[in-house]
C-alpha cells in the first residue's frame, strides 16, 4: 500500500462507518412504514406511505455512497481474499439491489401495492429486505472488530459469517433459469390477464 493510498484509506474508512448509517436508518424506517401501512388504512398509515418513495430514493443514493466508500477501504486484492469482506460486499450489494426493486415497485404501482393481498406481499418483501440489512450490518460489525450476537443466530441457521457465502454450480444454473423465467412468467401472466 502506498503512503498516499494509506492516507486516503484512513480518511475514507471513518466516513464509510458514518455513511452506512443513512441507508440502514432509511430502510429500517421504510420497513416500519410498510408494516404499519400493511395493517392499517388509517390516515397516519396513508401519510407514511406517501413519503415512501422519497425515503427510498434517498436510501438508494446513500446506499450507493456507503457501498462505494466501503469498496475503497481495502485494496481489491485484499477484499477479494477476505471471507468477511466478501460476505459484506455480497450482502450490501444484494441489499442495494433489493431495495431498488422495492422502490421501483412502489413508485410504478402506487397505491395498488396495498390492495388486497398485495399488502402482505409488500410486508413480506420488506421483512426480507430487513433481513438483508441485518446480515450486512452484522458482517460489517465483525470487520470493524465489533461482533454481535446476530452472527450466533445466523450460525444456528447454518451459516458461519466467517465462511464465504457462495452457492454451488447447480444452484447457479437454477438461478440462471429463474433470471430468464421470472420476467417471462411476468410477461406471460400480464398477457394472459390482458387477453382475458
Amino acid at each position: 500500500m502506498t503512503p498516499y493510498y494509506e492516507l486516503f484509506v484512513r480518511l475514507v474508512a471513518p466516513y464509510h462507518a458514518v455513511l452506512v448509517h443513512f441507508p440502514v436508518a432509511l430502510w429500517t424506517t421504510v420497513a416500519l412504514i410498510v408494516f404499519y401501512r400493511a395493517i392499517s388504512d388509517g390516515a397516519v398509515a396513508r401519510a407514511g406511505d406517501k413519503i415512501l418513495v422519497p425515503l427510498l430514493v434517498l436510501s438508494i443514493f446513500s446506499g450507493i455512497a456507503a457501498l462505494v466508500s466501503g469498496l475503497l477501504i481495502f485494496p481489491l486484492e485484499a477484499a477479494g481474499a477476505s471471507p468477511l469482506i466478501r460476505n459484506h460486499i455480497l450482502a450490501a450489494s444484494w441489499s442495494l439491489a433489493y431495495w431498488t426493486v422495492f422502490l421501483v415497485t412502489r413508485w410504478i404501482n402506487g397505491e395498488t401495492v396495498w390492495k388486497g393481498a398485495n399488502r402482505w406481499i409488500m410486508l413480506g418483501l420488506a421483512a426480507l429486505g430487513t433481513l438483508l440489512i441485518t446480515v450486512t450490518g452484522t458482517v460489517g460489525g465483525h470487520i470493524a472488530g465489533k461482533p454481535t450476537t446476530v452472527s450466533i443466530v445466523l450460525g444456528w441457521f447454518g451459516w458461519d459469517v466467517y465462511d464465504t457465502f457462495f452457492v454451488p454450480d447447480a444452484m447457479l444454473w437454477l438461478i440462471g433459469a429463474a433470471i430468464i423465467g421470472l420476467p417471462a412468467l411476468g410477461w406471460w401472466g400480464s398477457r394472459r390477464s390482458h387477453q382475458s
Binding site: V104, T105, I108, N109, L128, G158, W187
Partner: protein, 473 residues
C-alpha cells in the same frame, strides 16, 4: 394472474432458501495433486500443566484422540523387495502407520513477532507440502541450505533469516545468520514423537532458525536404510528379542501395544542379514532408536507417556538452563516466555497437524500457563489444567499474512496480536478457504452477480404482474 404472481414469489423465495441451504458447498474438497487434504475436525483441545524446581522444568500435555498411533515408517518385505510404508503423505497415512506427536516452540522475547503471531512467522515461501512447494532438487541445489546444510525441503524458518520472505532461497549471509543466532534469534523446539523418541523416554530437541534443525549432538533416532543395497541396515537381534522382524499383520491389525516390541532400538539390533529366509510380510522399522547425546538429547520423558481412555498424557522435562545457548532458551525463575504447540494425531503427518496461537508462559507468574514452583524432583501436578484450543492452519504463510492479499496486514505492521482479531475456529476456516482462494473468488463473484440479477428479474416479473393489475383497476 394471482396464481402466477404467487408462483413468482414462491420461485424467488424458494431459490433464496435453496441458496441458503446449499451455500459453501461444491468447491472445497480434497485435492491430493495440490497437497490439499482437509481434516474432518478443524479444532481440538490441548491441556497443559507446567512446573519447575529451580533446576528442571516440566511440561505435561494431555489431548484426546480415538486411538494412539505409535507405529512409524516401516520396511515391509514384498516379493523380494523391501518396500517403505509410513512416509509422510497428504492427509492420513492409509495404513495408519504414522506416529502421534506433540511439539512446543519456545521463545524468550528474542523473536518479537512470535509472541504476537506464533508459528505463522515460521511459515515462509513454498513450504514443504504446500501447493507449489519447492522441489527437493531446487532446495538441494541451494548453495547454503542444500549444499552446506543438507536440506532437501523448505521447512520452518524465521523472517529475518531471509532478505525477502517471499523468496525462500534469499537466505542472508552466513555471518549474519550466526550473529542472529548468537543474539537469540531462534525458536527452541521440543518435539516428542510417539515412535521415534518415546520408547527410549526421549523427546527430540530441535531449533528453528534459517531452517529447522536438530540441536547439536545425536538425535533419538536414525534411518535404517542402505540405499545402495536397497535393504535395511539393521534388523532385530534374535538373541535379545527372539525375532528378526515384525509381522506386517500385527501392525495393520494394531496388535502391538505399549508393552510390546514395535520399534527397533539400537542396542537390540544387529546388522541386517540378507541371507536369512525373509518372507512376505516380514517388517523392520525404518527408524532405529537410541538415547542420543549432546544438546539434542536435553529433553526427556517423565514416564510413562501413554494413551489411556481416549487421551494421551505426556510429560517432558529439561534443565532450565541446558548450557546450550545457541540451541535452547534458558528459563529462569519468574521468567516470562511465549510458547506455541502443535499436535499430530490420527496418522496425519507433515503440515496436517493442529497448531495453537502463541501462549504466554510465566514461571511463578500469572500467565495463560503458569509454571508452578515446587520442591523436590517430580511435580505433584496439583494445579488445574490450562486449556488451549488448537486448530488446523491450512496453507497460510507469513508472506501471505504480511502481503497485499491479507486485509489485516496493516494490523500486523502495527504489531496488533493475532488474538485481538481472530479466534482459532475462524483461523481454521480462513486457512482452508485460502487453499481454494481462486475457486472461491469465482464462485463468490458468480453468486454475487446471480443474486443481483435474480433480484432484478424478480422485480421485472413482479412489476409486470402488478402493472397489469393496476391497469385493470
Amino acid at each position: 394472474m394471482r396464481r402466477i404472481l404467487y408462483l413468482s414469489l414462491v420461485i424467488f423465495v424458494g431459490l433464496l432458501a435453496a441458496s441458503w441451504l446449499t451455500h459453501g458447498t461444491g468447491v472445497i474438497k480434497n485435492d491430493l495433486a495440490r497437497n490439499i487434504f482437509i481434516p474432518d475436525d478443524r479444532t481440538m483441545p490441548l491441556q497443559i500443566k507446567a512446573a519447575y524446581n529451580g533446576h528442571d522444568i516440566f511440561f505435561r500435555y494431555r489431548w484426546p484422540t480415538d486411538k494412539p498411533h505409535i507405529y512409524h515408517d516401516m520396511l515391509k518385505y514384498e516379493g523380494g523387495n523391501w518396500v517403505r510404508y509410513g512416509a509422510s503423505v497428504a492427509g492420513p497415512q492409509p495404513q495408519g502407520i504414522y506416529e502421534d506427536r506433540v511439539a512446543m516452540m519456545v521463545d524468550d522475547g528474542s523473536v518479537p513477532e512470535f509472541g504476537r503471531y506464533g508459528g505463522y512467522v515460521t511459515i515462509g515461501d513454498r513450504m514443504r507440502f504446500f501447493t507449489g512447494e519447492a522441489s527437493p532438487k531446487e532446495v538441494a541445489a541451494h548453495p547454503y541450505l542444500g549444499a552446506k546444510k543438507g536440506q532437501t525441503e523448505v521447512g520452518k524458518h524465521l523472517p529475518a533469516t531471509r532478505r525477502d520472505m517471499n523468496d525462500w532461497s534469499s537466505v542472508v549471509p552466513e555471518e549474519e545468520l550466526a550473529r542472529l543466532r548468537a543474539a537469540g534469534y531462534f525458536l527452541d523446539l521440543w518435539h516428542w514423537r510417539a515412535h521415534r523418541s518415546n520408547p527410549v523416554d526421549k523427546s527430540d530437541d530441535q531449533v528453528i532458525a534459517e531452517a529447522r534443525y536438530g540441536d547439536a549432538g545425536k538425535g533419538p533416532f536414525f534411518t535404517n536404510w542402505d540405499g545402495e543395497k536397497k535393504q535395511p541396515r539393521l534388523m532385530f537381534d534374535p538373541q535379545k528379542t527372539g525375532r528378526t522382524a515384525l509381522d506386517w499383520n500385527d501392525l495393520t491389525e494394531r496388535r502391538l501395544g505399549f508393552g510390546d516390541l514395535y520399534y527397533l532400538r539400537e542396542d537390540q539390533a544387529v546388522p541386517f542379514d540378507p541371507n536369512l529366509a525373509w518372507k512376505d510380510g516380514n517388517t523392520i522399522p525404518q527408524r532405529v532408536l537410541r538415547a542420543g547425546d549432546g544438546s539434542r538429547a536435553d529433553i526427556s520423558v517423565v514416564g510413562p507417556a501413554e494413551w489411556r481412555d481416549g487421551f494421551w498424557d505426556v510429560t517432558l522435562t529439561r534443565a532450565m538452563n541446558t548450557g546450550h545457548p545457541l540451541d535452547d532458551k534458558a528459563m529462569v525463575d519468574k521468567g516470562f516466555y511465549s510458547i506455541a504447540f502443535a499436535v499430530h494425531r490420527g496418522a496425519y503427518g507433515s503440515r496436517w497437524h493442529y497448531v495453537s496461537l502463541p501462549v504466554a508462559l510465566g514461571l511463578d507468574r500469572d500467565a495463560q500457563v503458569t509454571a508452578v514452583r515446587f520442591d523436590g524432583d517430580i511435580p505433584k501436578w496439583e494445579q488445574a489444567w490450562s486449556d488451549v484450543t488448537l486448530f488446523y492452519p491450512g496453507q497460510v504463510s507469513w508472506p501471505m499474512l504480511t502481503g497485499k492479499r491479507h486485509a489485516g496486514s496493516s494490523f500486523i505492521k502495527d504489531g496488533v496480536p493475532v488474538r485481538f482479531r481472530h479466534n482459532e475456529r475462524q483461523l481454521a476456516q480462513y486457512g482452508i478457504e485460502a487453499e481454494f482462494a481462486d475457486e472461491i473468488w469465482r464462485q463468490w463473484m458468480l453468486t454475487l452477480l446471480g443474486g443481483i440479477l435474480l433480484i432484478a428479474a424478480f422485480g421485472v416479473g413482479l412489476n409486470l404482474l402488478l402493472g397489469r393489475e393496476r391497469a385493470s383497476q
